[in-house]
């Protein structure tokens, strides 16, 4: 009986997308999102490398000790969404905040107030992000990255021309689909895409994990 109630609850949970008062999907709630671990964003597809980027990818891939996250630097985007470390999403009227347990204990803000990117953004680790809704999908457009992160564990490189488009679609109470487009004409011949998913873990909370604790002693 208990098992049946549990299953029924699960079915109901799956059927509904939680929504905010304004009708948009609620990407938050009491719990955390756990992204799937995607070590290689290419997912076996053919990546339209420029020559130097292919060589750089192969060098990175063979030199995992040079991975910038080992120095406790922020993983960047989209890698922070591919590391299987919990995430919380907090929606406010003018921006959406992503709070990350893994990486470097950082957060990220996506502006939802209709602003544009700054003309000459100071290159940084998480970029400058603006978002809008396309139906039930949150679309996040980010530029202004430095060139020091890897796109994934495998070591796909990028330049400061990186332009990332992410699409977050909560398909049911427990699941979010993640689609990402990499557009970096400094490293790749044309835009390419990848995808992943996140699962919701009700009632769980983010924990403190300070990367420097592990390397500074």
């Amino acid at each position: 009986m208990k098992y049946f109630v549990f299953l029924a609850a699960l079915v109901v949970a799956h059927a509904q997308i939680p929504r905010l008062a304004d009708g948009h999907p609620d990407l938050g709630g009491d719990g955390v999102w756990l992204p799937a671990h995607v070590p290689d964003l290419a997912l076996n597809a053919n990546i339209p490398f420029q020559g130097w980027a292919r060589a750089k990818f192969q060098a990175n891939n063979a030199a995992k000790q040079d991975d910038p996250v080992l120095g406790c630097l922020p993983p960047g985007v989209p890698r922070i969404m591919l590391m299987a470390r919990p995430i919380q999403i907090v929606q406010t009227p003018n921006r959406i905040l992503f709070v990350y347990e893994g990486g470097a204990h950082v957060w990220r803000q996506v502006w939802m107030d209709g602003r544009d990117h700054p003309k000459d953004p100071n290159p940084n680790w998480l970029g400058h992000s603006i978002g809008h809704w396309e139906g039930d999908a949150l679309v996040v457009d980010s530029v202004g990255f430095n060139d020091r992160t890897w796109l994934d564990d495998a070591g796909h490189p990028h330049t400061e021309r990186l332009h990332v488009t992410e699409k977050y679609t909560r398909t049911d109470a427990m699941t979010m689909k993640y689609d990402v487009t990499i557009d970096d004409r400094g490293a790749y011949l044309r835009p390419w895409t990848s995808s992943s998913s996140l699962s919701f873990h009700p009632g769980e909370k983010l924990e403190e994990d300070i990367c420097l604790d592990k390397i500074s002693k």
Binding site: N94, V106, Q109, E207, E208, L212
Partner: protein, 267 residues
């Protein structure tokens, strides 16, 4: 002999006021800070959320400025905490404090990009914002590594999980008392400094924080420090943090090309 041994371990009573190391003096040009601390905007009434809770957010950010010592009203040439406190040091925390003040805080963990800790973030020059949801209060910071902190709101007051893993920011549970957010924090790792001057803590640290927005531009902060392994009785520090209308937070990654700490050699 027993007396000496116990005294060495910090169990004997202090006789007379503790001999505190002197303020190292103004190494910061005072002109760098005062205008940061008091904005020119005109204050309105403290805002509230639709359900009546105090609203600690809005279009802007809180900016404490530099308040180097949470027990002194001036430190390094600028205004510091709101009130002087006679800190009930145990001998080891007095010695540690004096050493840190005298060696110019050269071993400061925050200068090595480690989390600024609680209550120090309310005294350090990192702007922050407070975002309230139904069951949480999220603090997001520009420094030191674009840090965040979450307070879990509990209707019934303070209940911490058992067997907490020791951390820099501790486990924080909060509740609202009228217009005040009260946060109870424990589960610290004992490594964070309470302020830049160097008031030490142990892993027995237990904090009670009280946040009150007294008008639209002003956040009053009280923190009671209860750490029986570091201080002979609980003591309370006070600060006022000002609102910077329109201020947005920028990503700041301390760990990026960090080259400062190697030059921190004390004196």
């Amino acid at each position: 002999m027993t007396w000496l041994a116990l005294c060495g371990l910090g169990y004997c009573q202090q006789t007379g006021p503790p001999q505190l190391a002197k303020d190292p003096g103004a190494f910061l040009p005072a002109s760098d800070f005062p205008e940061d601390k008091v904005p020119k905007a005109v204050a309105g009434p403290a805002p509230h959320l639709p359900d009546g809770r105090p609203d600690f957010g809005g279009n802007g950010a809180w900016y404490p400025g530099f308040n180097g010592n949470l027990a002194e009203t001036t430190w390094k040439g600028v205004k510091s905490a709101d009130q002087h406190v006679d800190v009930p040091f145990l001998p080891w925390t007095l010695n540690t404090y004096n050493e840190r003040v005298e060696n110019r805080s050269k071993d400061d963990p925050e200068a090595r990009c480690l989390p600024v800790g609680v209550p120090r973030f309310m005294f350090d020059p990192y702007p922050f914002q407070i975002i309230q949801t139904t069951n949480q209060v999220l603090f997001v910071f520009e420094g030191d590594n674009y840090l965040w902190r979450i307070v879990n709101i509990q209707a019934t007051g303070s209940t911490h999980p058992k067997n907490l893993k020791p951390t820099w920011l501790g486990d924080a549970v909060g509740h609202y008392e009228g217009d005040t957010l009260v946060v109870d924090v424990t589960g610290f790792n004992g490594l964070a400094w309470l302020d830049q001057a160097g008031h030490a803590t142990s892993d027995k640290l237990h904090l009670t924080e009280r946040y009150t927005r007294t008008d639209s531009l002003t956040l009053k902060y009280e923190v009671t420090i209860d750490d029986p392994a570091a201080y002979s009785k609980p003591w309370t520090a006070f600060n006022t943090v000002h609102w910077r209308p329109g201020m947005e937070l920028m990503e700041s990654i301390c760990q990026e090309d960090e080259k400062s700490s190697r030059h921190m050699i004390g004196k």
